[in-house]
């Protein structure tokens, strides 16, 4: 018979107030297999743990049941204590008397009786506990970073500086993300490109960063420490090894009037080219949809112009596979386009623009060379109305969240406009102004006090063209909802930040979660803000929710340090509470019939097929095998197995039957009891 010790914790008053702890200990002594039972005020304290350790040694315990708080709280603490006394930590069992008993009951007698039942069930289980050893998983010390905005760049550089090789995958032809499009950045008004492009170049040339630009993650397999990632390198139709980035090709391209994506449709581009002059890598891409050669086979001017013969119209997509141990998702965001706002001049008036379009107007490298000119006729607007919260904080439109950055960038826009055109009249229509952040409120004050930006607390209803200008209709919410009509030459909408359109698809590939809006989910919003619930995957930047650059960079560095921390270990240790398929010596081999129902239900793709062969190599049968690195111990396969060939370590059938039996106070003794 097993020698089990029961330790009942008072948890100060938390348990003792409603449960008679001494009574529970006394009742435990009567349970089969219990060799000792004591109660104590705080078992998690040092003297409490010492008590457990001493009992294990002195009484020679073969297992312990700690009747205390939730195992989520202190299972690790007590298992460590047991281990210190020479007991296998998995022979230590937690009975939850706090969350599941004392906290939810008031009647002391009934609670005490329930506590005894809980302990009884755990004692019964504990008799079938087996010593387990953590699963050791080898570790590939390379990281994948998905997304090459400022988040991805920062994370990749930090990881690489930590001595680890990084594969950086960027979907578009160049690194940079949204930050490359910005003019000047709040709260310091430093030029965005000037601070970004050196970082882009560093990431593009770092010895330990392998940049896969114009590429996408196709498939992710494996688990923490051992991911296999297939990456699709999209055909550029330009051989990057030959191309020198000289620009002869795009100068010759006859398609000169295409709308520039980088300039948010306000500037022009050619069908071959780099998105912007500082692009990294500085190698052009052919836009197949708009290329005459692809459409009619009657052009090829870029090919003739290229001095190094780098243009290759027959290039195909290319799939490569990379082994990595950790992944950082840094895929950023999108902003809503103005077409989402039919009330604002039908969503297609040239002089109603988004904040991101305003950035391009204000940018020295933008389509107007940094002058604020309205798109319809190139005039300098005398009055600009900025409408904040366009699409944000609108539960009626299905978006309840605040996009967080718009109050600040709108103040910036109003200031930039005023700095560039002194007589201009910037008016901001806002629900309120949110300026949490270092130096942020000071920045906003500068806009209102020094630059004379007019802020009106209001809700904007409608924008319509009138007399060559635009009229903005709004309700003044400060002065009792009075109706206002403001004339403007340019209207700028601070449109909501939204997740990337394919964010959910990528999340499914990576096996990570997202919230109802589509932002990626962290494990804990406060205490584990950069880790995903799937081990080995981390988050950086605006893919997790609206963020400005300082926050994005901070999170990216945090994600990098998490990756480096993970890689600091020699190998990974994982909880041994995993499924196991029955195996036996020949001629039985295994009672697994090879139906692979388990494979169908396993959410973690942890079921493998194992061929059993005789000495001569003839196939005897194919059975299931659990990959302990992938298995998360959910037990779904156990339930699905018709032959009862799978069991879950730590939660074996016999343990569960024993616990149920004890609860039913019957004396069911499963076969094979020790």
């Amino acid at each position: 018979m097993a020698r089990i010790g029961v330790f009942v914790c008072h948890c100060g008053e938390n348990i003792a107030r409603t449960v008679d702890c001494a009574g529970v200990a006394a009742a435990s002594l009567e349970m089969p297999g219990v060799a000792t039972a004591v109660d104590y005020r705080y078992l998690c304290s040092d003297p409490g743990q010492a008590l457990i350790r001493e009992a294990i040694v002195k009484v020679g315990l073969a297992g312990v049941v700690i009747a205390s708080c939730s195992p989520r709280m202190h299972e690790k603490t007590f298992r460590r204590a047991a281990e210190a006394a020479g007991l296998n930590p998995y022979l230590c069992e937690i009975a939850n008397l706090r969350e599941q008993c004392s906290w939810v009951h008031t009647d002391r007698d009934q609670a005490t009786r329930k506590a005894i039942e809980i302990v009884r069930a755990h004692v019964a289980r504990a008799r079938y506990n087996a010593p387990l050893v953590p699963v050791r998983v080898p570790l590939t010390r390379r990281a994948l970073v998905v997304g090459g905005g400022i988040a991805g760049i920062q994370a990749a550089l930090d990881i690489a500086e930590g001595g680890v090789e990084v594969v950086l995958v960027e979907r578009s032809p160049s690194l940079g993300g949204h930050m490359a499009q910005l003019s000047e950045t709040f709260p310091t008004l430093d030029c965005s490109q000037c601070i970004l492009t050196p970082r882009m170049v560093e990431a593009g040339t770092h010895g330990r960063i392998r940049l896969e630009a114009y590429s996408e993650v196709e498939k992710v397999e494996g688990y923490v420490g051992n991911f296999q990632v297939s990456i699709r390198r999209k055909a550029r139709y330009v051989d990057p090894n030959r191309c020198t980035g000289c620009g002869a090709c795009w100068q010759q391209c006859p398609m000169k009037k295409l709308k520039s994506v980088f300039d948010e449709g306000l500037g022009k581009r050619t069908a071959i080219g780099v998105p912007f002059p500082q692009a990294v890598p500085n190698k052009p891409v052919i836009d197949r949809e708009n290329c005459i050669q692809f459409k009619t086979k009657k052009c090829g001017r870029c090919q003739k112009a290229c001095p190094v013969g780098a243009i290759d119209f027959d290039q195909q997509d290319d799939l490569v596979t990379e082994q990595v141990g950790a992944i950082v998702a840094a895929t950023g965001f999108q902003v809503l386009g103005k077409e989402a706002f039919p009330l604002y001049a039908d969503g297609d008036h040239p002089d109603v623009i988004t904040g991101l379009q305003f950035e391009r107007l204000a940018s020295a490298s933008g389509p107007t060379g940094g002058e604020i000119r309205r798109p319809s006729d190139g005039e300098i607007p005398r009055t600009v109305v900025f409408i904040q919260c366009a699409g944000s904080r609108e539960p009626a439109l299905g978006r309840g969240y605040c996009s967080k950055i718009c109050c600040m960038y709108t103040a910036k826009h109003a200031m930039l406009y005023k700095h560039k055109y002194h007589p201009g009249r910037p008016i901001v229509l806002c629900m309120d102004v949110r300026t949490g952040g270092k130096g942020y409120d000071e920045f906003w004050r500068r806009a209102t006090e020094q630059d004379g930006v007019l802020y009106i607390r209001s809700r904007s209803a409608r924008v319509y063209p009138s007399g060559g200008r635009l009229v903005v209709q709004a309700a003044d919410t400060l002065l009792g909802g009075e109706r206002m009509e403001l004339e403007a030459d340019l209207v700028v909408l601070a449109t909501a930040m939204v997740p990337q359109p394919d964010a959910r698809a990528l999340a499914r590939k990576l096996g990570i979660g997202y919230d109802s809006d589509g932002w990626y989910s962290e494990v804990h919003p406060k205490l584990r803000p950069v880790e995903c619930a799937s081990a080995g995957i981390f988050l950086a930047g605006a893919c997790q929710g609206p963020k400005d650059i300082p926050e994005t960079v901070a999170q990216a560095s945090a994600a990098a340090s998490k990756v480096l921390g993970l890689f600091a270990a020699r190998e990974l240790l994982r909880e041994p509470l995993v499924s196991r398929v029955h195996r036996a010596p020949p001629p039985v081999h295994s009672i697994c019939g090879g139906c692979f129902a388990c494979e169908q239900v396993c959410p973690y793709r942890a079921i493998e097929r194992e061929e059993i062969r005789d000495r001569k190599g003839n196939l005897i049968k194919v059975v299931a095998r659990v990959n302990a690195g992938l298995c998360q111990g959910c037990g779904t396969c156990v339930a699905a197995c018709r032959a009862k060939a799978i069991d879950l370590e730590g939660f074996t059938d016999e343990q569960i039957v024993a616990a149920l039996g004890a609860l039913a106070e019957s004396n069911v003794e499963p076969a094979g009891a020790r």
């Binding site: 039919p342 063209p465 209709q473």
Partner: protein, 298 residues
């Protein structure tokens, strides 16, 4: 031949008889039978719903019950106020099915009378539906030359849970119909502005101010005709135009959607009641071409 119930309401028997005439003529032209609900009663608009919710519900339900007894599933309701009342009642009865049963009983049954089976339809919805087949193929006179400002007002589009309109603040249904019939539609900012109807008698100044605002922007947007689908809007914009316009401001004809669709379907001005407007439509009509080939083939 297709049949649909018809609820003219009081306006269409009085001030808006031209609206009534155009709906009937258009239906006939499109070979659709309008079955007037036998012995229909007042929809309860303007006062009942503000005074007594139950009376308001019962008035509308009575008409729905009569439609149902006549075996009808749908009732065409040209007046936007009547439409609003009937649609609101069906919505409420559908939400509270037991109430529907009770009211059906109180209105004299029969026992299996299901009030939630009758739906009120306004002319905009009706024509959107008819456009692909019936209306589109029978239109013989393209509305080329007409630059229409579509004016929805309030009750046709709001509240969306009653009116079933997707973008209640920026509706485009009338534009869709008229464009398909060959007209140009203008973009303007007052399509869902209030015409001031509730103040029609009590504070005329409000109505005149609203009317002017609507006229101004429609003209500025380049419209030569205003399209409405509500007798109140029509009265305030057509009848009062001479009051709110000053000297030198040119009057803008105000036509019902069904009148414009009727013209496209080849009907003459008389058949559509166009001779009885306060703002003359003669100039406008002179811009229209002859009845000819089907519009949608061009």
């Amino acid at each position: 031949m297709d049949t649909i119930g018809y609820f003219p309401g009081c306006s269409l028997q009085g001030s808006a008889f031209d609206y009534d005439r155009s709906v009937r003529a258009l239906a006939q032209q499109l070979s659709i039978v309008l079955r007037e609900i036998p012995d229909w009663v007042c929809c309860g608009a303007s006062s009942a719903h503000a005074v007594d919710r139950e009376v308001a519900l019962c008035l509308a339900a009575d008409t729905l019950a009569k439609a149902r007894r006549a075996g009808l599933d749908e009732v065409l309701v040209p007046c936007a106020m009547c439409f609003q009342r009937l649609a609101a009642a069906s919505q409420e009865l559908t939400e509270h099915r037991s109430l529907a049963g009770e009211i059906a009983g109180a209105l004299g049954g029969p026992a299996d009378l299901d009030l939630t089976r009758v739906k009120a339809v306004n002319p905009v919805e009706w024509l959107v539906r008819l456009l692909p087949g019936t209306l589109g193929t029978r239109a013989r006179r393209p509305l080329t030359g007409l630059r229409v400002a579509c004016y929805y007002g309030c009750l046709l589009v709001r509240p969306p849970k009653v009116t079933r309109v997707e973008e209640p603040e920026a509706p485009r249904q009338m534009e869709g119909i008229l464009k398909a019939l060959g007209a140009t539609t203008v973009r303007w900012g007052r399509a869902t502005e209030c015409c001031g109807a509730s103040f029609s008698l009590s504070r005329k100044s409000v109505v005149l101010r609203q009317g002017l605002r609507i006229w101004e922007l429609a003209v500025e947007a380049g419209a030569n005709v205003l399209c409405v689908a509500c007798p109140m809007c029509h009265a305030n914009l057509d009848m009062r135009q001479s009051e709110f316009l000053s000297e030198g401001q040119e009057a803008l004809p105000v036509l019902y959607l069904t009148q414009l669709a009727g013209l496209a379907a080849g009907l003459g001005p008389e058949q559509l009641g166009l001779g009885d407007h306060f703002v003359s439509v003669d100039r406008l009509l002179s811009t229209l071409g002859p009845v000819g080939r089907p519009v949608t083939d061009t």
